[in-house]
Symmetry: C2
Subunit: 428 residues, 2 copies
């Protein structure tokens, strides 16, 4: 068997579970401590994981009264992680709605140089109104955000390609550092951007960063089909996972492309199933109902109150401008499993709509193998409930099982993120 | 004597001299190599220097055919340097004309966390037309750029102050992570920016980064007087240096402020004066006249040709939108010393208008001491002609002389950049 799993560690403060910061396995004072994140990246590298990933938003989301928010900016943080690691890929989220292509293209080229070829960009269009408020504009409509995103990436690609691979000669004797004929202005003039170029950072080791995308709306899937080399997605059931996988692979095939599809999974790991369930229960017992209620209200756009806790989820009018696919997933989950609002907030607390699997290392590996071999995943976005402990559990106990089964690498194949993901270096 | 010099290492590729990349003491392939810059930062730290500094522009300036351009983006680079050092301050240049306050405030807060209190921001307004071309706009007028810069910094200050020092409680037992009453929205609504806030990164170790400014136009000096805690400046003569120092200190005093003034100096160091002059000559002999001519033409806004090389500098109409103070300095230098255009390009090759001093460690230290004691400087922005060798020369041979004379620290006073610069932590 040669097809191998791709495994990404999704790093989120002191853990993905909403109550992680209250659990004795974490230290919530670490959310702004670079050494915490450097430790996480080294653990991921010890497990030969492909990459670590930082989500991001451009506003203080959620109720900081009840969660450990206010962490670090992804690009600066990943650069510090690059300095502490050698192989693991480094994927930062950055918005196309509130940035300029020149800045982002340059920062990612720089991160790719600094990491010697390990940079990845999770492209987001920033759905929330709170983010718009920090940039003095009204939130652009969904389609408009994706139209801007497409042009943004087109410009970024041109900027990354503005220096040919062989532009730099470094000929000291004749005083010729570079051949200007191999460094190209873009003169891009489009609906959203006008950028002369070239980039003022030389072509980076990977040519350009790995392109990642995570939106699962119709626009999001079409965007992923055109641009993404890896897709993060939230899928609750194997059937949904297979349907999404088939749909996105087909859309991408129409563009002659074949992105890796990596559903999220939050593994709650115990030496025994009972131990895993106990950890899950401990975390659940630390939940603050008002927090989960506010989170749920915010995502689905309904003002839920404590009176709703023990009732079924009310009807949700599918808002078309926000996080479309996530709202649909939550409504489906509540209906399918006939959950009360209280149950639903508990189910979402583990992974915000991503799948939570509690069990032994073998049971977690079984789930991973099933999705991988049944056509629902090329790998997984691992979302440990607590950090660092939950990531150590995965690396020390689940990874060896996956390796033993021939599903995962024992050593890194290459030096760059693209090499580890099995992708070619981008030609000039 | 208790007043101490502040010394900043201005890092610029493989050296400040235009021909540095051709000299055997450098390796031009290092301009995109993070290990090169980490080495420089460690050398600076070995010399107990206050800080390292990265200039920046948002376009590919100068003729890359004849110079080693296309290096790394400052904020990502400094973050990687933070991970490789413990004490030295880290100052990045970033533009107020082509950025959003929310992004920059957050990136600097993040760098301040990552470095545990060593971040500084050199505030620039981006004078060149080439930069405007990469952001799809016409270059704003000089005054307009400074008006935007002032509002930009005001917003950034509010964002850095949006979390009180004691906002985070981390009370796990009661489930209270932070007190929302101590985290403040800005609701800023001004001529240039509308920003709701708060910042989504917690208050950083220094409260906010050290604020540095380098423009010496009238608008630039007024801006520095209001905001800067350290001022970089180019001054050719002691008289000019004293005049600038007195002028800026007076302007700042009117605001109840007292920024540190740090003129640039490029020290060409030899064990003997003859050795220093030989090194200067070696670098001069590697200059490419067409490159220097194009650089000079670009700065002063005159299309000079090779026919002009052996003539005096033609009259320059002082353009009011570009680098006003630097053009004035160059014109003054040419007139005062009756330089031909060829001579002038050689004089500018060492430090682009900054003072070049060739000599023994004692002679360099004498110059530094003179300016420091005569009211022209609180310290210096050290611009080594080659890197790393020129910085090693300074740290290993000039710093000990300055220490012996009681002018410079033997050990760092504190952990943060502000502590080393002798400034208070910013209160909430």
């Amino acid at each position: 068997m040669t097809r191998k799993l791709r495994l990404n560690a999704f790093l989120m403060g002191v853990g993905h579970h909403e109550a992680a910061w209250r659990h004795p396995r974490t230290n919530p004072e670490k959310v702004t401590d670079v050494r915490h994140y450097q430790n996480l990246a080294r653990i991921a590298e010890r497990g030969r994981l492909d990459s670590v990933f930082l989500a991001d938003g451009l506003a203080l989301w959620g109720n900081v009264r009840h969660n450990a928010l206010g962490g670090l900016e992804p690009l600066t943080l990943l650069s510090a992680l690059a300095a502490a690691t050698d192989h693991v890929g480094l994927i930062a989220t950055a918005s196309t709605t509130y940035n300029e292509p020149f800045h982002l293209a340059r920062a990612f080229a720089s991160l790719d140089h600094i990491s010697r070829g390990r940079a990845g960009w999770n492209i987001v269009t920033s759905a929330s109104e709170a983010e718009a408020g920090n940039f003095g504009i009204e939130r652009p409509a969904h389609q408009e955000r994706y139209a801007r995103a497409a042009e943004f990436v087109d410009v970024a690609l041109k900027l990354w390609h503005s220096w040919d691979d062989d532009a730099v000669l470094s000929d000291r004797r004749n005083g010729i550092y570079a051949d200007p004929d191999k460094i190209h202005p873009l003169d891009h003039d489009g609906a959203h951007f006008k950028v002369k170029g070239p980039l003022n950072t030389q072509r980076s080791p990977q040519g350009r960063p790995l392109l990642v995308q995570a939106g699962s709306s119709e626009d999001g899937k079409d965007f992923a089909a055109r641009y993404a080399e890896a897709v993060f997605t939230a899928q609750q059931t194997l059937a949904d996972g297979k349907a999404f996988y088939a749909d996105l692979k087909a859309r991408a095939a129409a563009h002659g492309r074949d992105p890796l599809i990596l559903p999220g999974i939050s593994p709650i790991i115990g030496a025994t199933e009972r131990e895993a369930l106990r950890l899950e229960k401990e975390l659940e017992d630390l939940l603050i109902p008002a927090y989960g209620l506010a989170q749920l209200s915010g995502i689905i756009g309904l003002p839920l109150t404590e009176d709703d806790l023990d009732r079924p989820l009310p009807d949700v009018a599918l808002e078309t401008e926000g996080h479309q696919s996530r709202v649909q997933l939550i409504v489906d989950l509540a209906r399918r499993e006939r959950l009360t609002v209280r149950d639903l907030t508990k189910r979402l607390a583990g992974g915000r709509g991503h799948r939570v699997v509690a069990g032994t290392p073998e049971q977690v590996a079984d789930q991973i193998e099933e999705w991988f071999t049944q056509g629902a995943a090329d790998g997984f976005n691992i979302m440990p409930p607590t950090l660092p402990a939950g990531l150590e559990d995965f690396v020390d106990h689940v990874v060896p099982v996956l390796q033993e089964r021939g599903l995962f690498r024992h050593e890194y194949e290459g030096r760059t993120l693209r090499e580890n993901y099995g992708l070619e270096r981008v030609p000039a």
